[in-house]
């Protein structure tokens, strides 16, 4: 075997993938040829580099970052349920709050208009005023009705 033949099968030789009929002459050539031994040592260094790459370990926080990203992008079932409910409940609560506000507002307006007298005074109120407040010369139903107008 000469150098060019050896070079053409060097990777297979290194990985013990050459058939026996070629592997034995290749070994013999290697034992007698310094240039091919140097070439082999260059490939040894490449293998060392590959082994070094293989031994490299990922950042220990990589897993945490991956999980964080997953939760940000997808969320877990419980969180997704909470988000789904919040999407439904938020507008419902808003509408209820709005209606409640409207109800309180209209009630207050009604009460205010009663105080200013735009609403007719009931006969019970007339009796109350007559007996407790307007017992004097003003206790006269006509005057009370004037006040109601």
């Amino acid at each position: 075997m000469d150098c060019s033949q050896f070079k053409s099968g060097i990777l297979a030789f290194r990985e013990h993938a050459l058939p026996e009929a070629q592997a034995t002459p290749a070994s013999e050539h290697l034992a007698s040829c310094a240039a091919c031994r140097n070439l082999m040592s260059e490939f040894d260094q490449l293998d060392e580099l590959i082994e070094r790459d293989k031994a490299a370990t990922p950042n220990p926080f990589a897993g945490t970052r991956i999980l964080q990203r997953i939760e940000n992008e997808l969320g877990t079932s419980r969180e997704r349920t909470a988000v789904r409910w919040s999407r439904i409940l938020t507008p419902v609560v808003m509408v209820i709050a709005l209606l409640f506000g409207l109800f309180i507002g209209t009630n207050k307006a009604r009460n205010d208009s009663r105080i200013t007298g735009s609403v007719a005074v009931s006969s019970e109120n007339v009796a109350f005023l007559r007996t407790n407040l307007l017992i004097s010369e003003f206790a006269d139903e006509d005057k009370i009705l004037v006040l109601n107008k």
Binding site: I50, G63, T76
Partner: protein, 193 residues
């Protein structure tokens, strides 16, 4: 947790299943991605996308292969897509550099004080090896990287690549020949220096 339990958990979007998936596969995914993309940082970023892909496409996992094979397939595809993206970007950057004047500071590497001649030699060789692997046709590159770096058996590679066993042997043989063609002349020159 068995694979079927893990799959069910992922489909339910269960936090424990996500955690188990990440714990079980993160190191392998990051390392495999690293062999293709060439650096750990990119591989770690890419692994996030890969896990999202796995979870999102779990519904379409037909269980015709094992879960780990399917995960490897996604990892390899995603990694190759990133490499192609970088290559496209590289073309634009090279075009851009044509119109720029050279800075003339003698390169970045020599500016670092702690780097010895031996490191430079190693760096050069690593670059040489990576470049030679990158130049391989895609199928040869996948087969070679999975075999040489990832220590996958030919049978596993055949499953990941969805090809027959003799095809894997042939791809690795051709990859070896091509690498030899690239590297032997360089080393012969290198020895003369």
């Amino acid at each position: 947790m068995t694979d079927p339990e893990l799959i069910e958990g992922i489909l339910r979007r269960d936090r424990n299943a996500f955690q188990y998936l990440v714990e079980k596969y993160q190191a392998r995914i990051i390392k495999t991605a690293c062999y293709f993309v060439g650096n750990m940082e990119d591989a770690e970023d890419l692994s996030q996308e890969i896990f999202l892909d796995i979870i999102r496409s779990m519904k379409s996992f037909r269980r015709s292969s094992s879960l780990s094979t399917w995960i490897y397939r996604i990892t390899v595809n995603r990694s190759l897509n990133l490499v192609k993206k970088h290559q496209r970007r590289g073309i634009f950057m090279r075009l851009e550099s044509v119109f720029k004047t050279p800075s003339g500071n003698g390169g970045e590497r020599s500016a670092e004080p702690c780097i010895t001649q031996n490191d430079i030699d190693h760096h050069e060789k690593r670059e040489l090896l990576n470049a030679a692997i990158r130049r391989l046709p895609e199928n040869q590159r996948i087969a070679f990287v999975l075999s040489k770096y990832d220590d996958q058996s030919y049978k596993q590679i055949a499953e990941i690549m969805k090809i027959r066993l003799p095809a894997v042997e042939s791809l690795i043989h051709r990859a070896r020949k091509n690498l030899q063609k690239d590297l032997v002349p360089y080393f012969s020159e290198y020895q003369k220096k």
